[in-house]
Symmetry: C2
Subunit: 326 residues, 2 copies
DNA sequence: GTGAAAGCGCTAACAT
DNA sequence: ATGTTAGCGCTTTCAC
């Protein structure tokens, strides 16, 4: 009932091999027959059975994408970038949400193995050893680096440096830093940058330790900050920053007059805050696009691994200002 | 190099047919051989080639999911629900993001047709005729109804009714309504409910027309509301409500003292607002789960179509209060 | 209960 | 430039 290459072949008066060649556009076919075949294929509404093609070529035209949480705006935009670029490359993408559980990420890898040609894996928290152990397919890591592995990351260190320079220029000398989950690769990068750049600027940093990357984590961070002499709070991400702002408002601390607040990621949330949140801009959509491009290179056996690092930059909005005279 | 059923057959000393039967668990196999085959399969790390299976059975074990925008928290949760239930059913899900463009939805359907067994389609804005024309595969519509079609929707009308009853009880008599995109199926449902229930309660409604379902749309809605005598604003969704709250704050109108605000959807955003947003709770995760279950029934030729309607209910938080004495 | 054999629809040698 | 043919790895009759 569905039309096959055989039907098209019959209609065009050629063999099925010619049909295959005309459609996949690789073997040698004369212009005339090619046109004829294509016309018949279109007329009959023929499209090749992907299962058959995949069985013989071993290529599925599908890419797996693993993210810890697709309801997180950070990853949602990455997915959109991946989808967009994949559409250009005529690749289908298979998204697996790991529900924030590293175990489910590993399950997902296993499931995907037989279904996709390669994997794009955003894994902030699976540890290096397990990550390595599960890289059976060509893989591009997202916001994560591993020796010898293809990856796309963002320069979080530079973003943090810009924050510190800016706060210093505004007159701040004492700041608080609320870190995220300790295992997070990008979290470690932020922290390293803090340690490298703060002393050089003569900034004193109060590390509040790691808080959950949630609104509640932000509430905690606010209270912790107010117990220090810091005049600015740098938060792990926008969600934590917003949670902190909420708690600060409740406690009668006004932002940015009494305390400056800086987020990270520049998600849509940062625009929802009042005042709008100063934050570190991280190119998420672009990261998704770049990952597909890199995976494509990796799949076509081009030299590698390539580790692409995207730029980040401070986005100054309403939550940073000079500290109060004291 | 990859192990095939032939390898397992040889190792277990049986034919490939028996391997197939043992693994797919349908034909008759003796307990003893079945155990032996399973053991060998495990030892060799065998898993059946899905492409080959799909080629012969015509079933892919894959479900397509089409959403207008996966960065929208509303759809993100739906996807999570779908994924979760699909995992239970051992189905893979293929998500297609249509970037808010109805044309891309139709493209997605076409692409998915050869790759999946059935489709779950959240299509608030494609018109009925085109929708019908593209239903070639077993399909469950999400938050959308169409005669003769399987669907999962939520009772938005009831949610709106509860809002009206609550506002009336608080003492409001004049309210403003900011509608969303005119083509939206659920938007029409909200509006119908408004027209049915407001008069019965003696509520006067100022319809502000349709605003974009964005923060900016919310800013507009706030200004429009303040030009009416309304003491409460009911917004199309949480994003619009938050945008409105932002503009109201800028104009020195305090919520809920000067104006009550109600959102819709109960997304995570509603908890980010200060004060937290009163909103209509819509079960998104459950909708995703239900859609998979229904699609499964549909695929197994069970009687239908089934149109499941999920409950919605008012979630009272901090943005609603009695109107100011005037 | 188990094996042999016939394909599913296609691509990739190999002929011509 | 085109046709013929041999499978890709599996499921599923049909024999036994």
């Amino acid at each position: 009932m569905t039309t096959t290459s055989r039907d098209v072949a019959r209609a065009a008066g050629v063999s099925i091999a010619t049909v295959s060649r005309a459609l996949s556009d690789n073997g040698a076919v004369s212009e005339a027959t090619k046109r004829r075949v294509l016309a018949e294929a279109a007329r009959l509404g023929y499209s090749p059975n992907p299962a058959a093609r995949r069985l013989i070529t071993g290529r599925s035209g599908t890419i797996g994408l693993i993210v810890p949480d697709l309801a997180n705006p950070f990853f949602a935009d990455i997915i959109k970038g991946v989808q967009r670029r994949a559409r250009e490359y005529r690749q289908t993408i298979l998204v697996a949400d790991a529900d924030e559980q590293p175990r489910l990420e590993l399950d997902a890898v296993r499931n995907l193995t037989r279904q996709v040609d390669g994997i794009i894996w955003a894994s902030p928290r699976v540890d290096d050893a397990e990550l390595s152990a599960h890289l059976n397919l060509p893989t591009v890591l997202l916001h994560r680096e591993l020796p010898g592995q293809w990856s796309v990351t963002a320069d979080f260190g530079e973003g943090v440096r810009q924050v510190l320079v800016n706060l210093h220029a505004l007159g701040h000398r004492t700041i608080a830093y609320a870190g995220g989950p300790g295992q997070s690769w990008s979290g470690r990068k932020r922290q390293e940058s803090l340690h490298t750049n703060a002393p050089a600027l003569g900034l004193e940093v109060f590390e509040l330790g790691s808080v959950p990357p949630t609104i509640d984590g932000g509430l905690m961070a606010a209270d912790l900050t107010l117990a220090t002499p810091a005049t600015a709070l740098v938060a792990y991400n926008d969600v934590v920053a917003l949670g902190a702002m909420r708690r600060l408002a409740d406690r009668g601390v006004s932002v940015p007059q009494d305390l400056s607040v800086v987020g990270c990621d520049n998600t849509m949330l940062s625009l929802l805050a009042t005042p709008a949140l100063t934050t570190i801009g991280v190119p998420r959509f672009e990261a998704g696009e770049a990952a597909v491009t890199l995976l494509d290179q990796c799949l076509s056996e081009q030299p590698g691994p390539v580790c692409q690092v995207l730029r980040t930059s401070l986005v100054i909005r309403g939550t940073t200002a000079p500290p109060k005279e004291s």
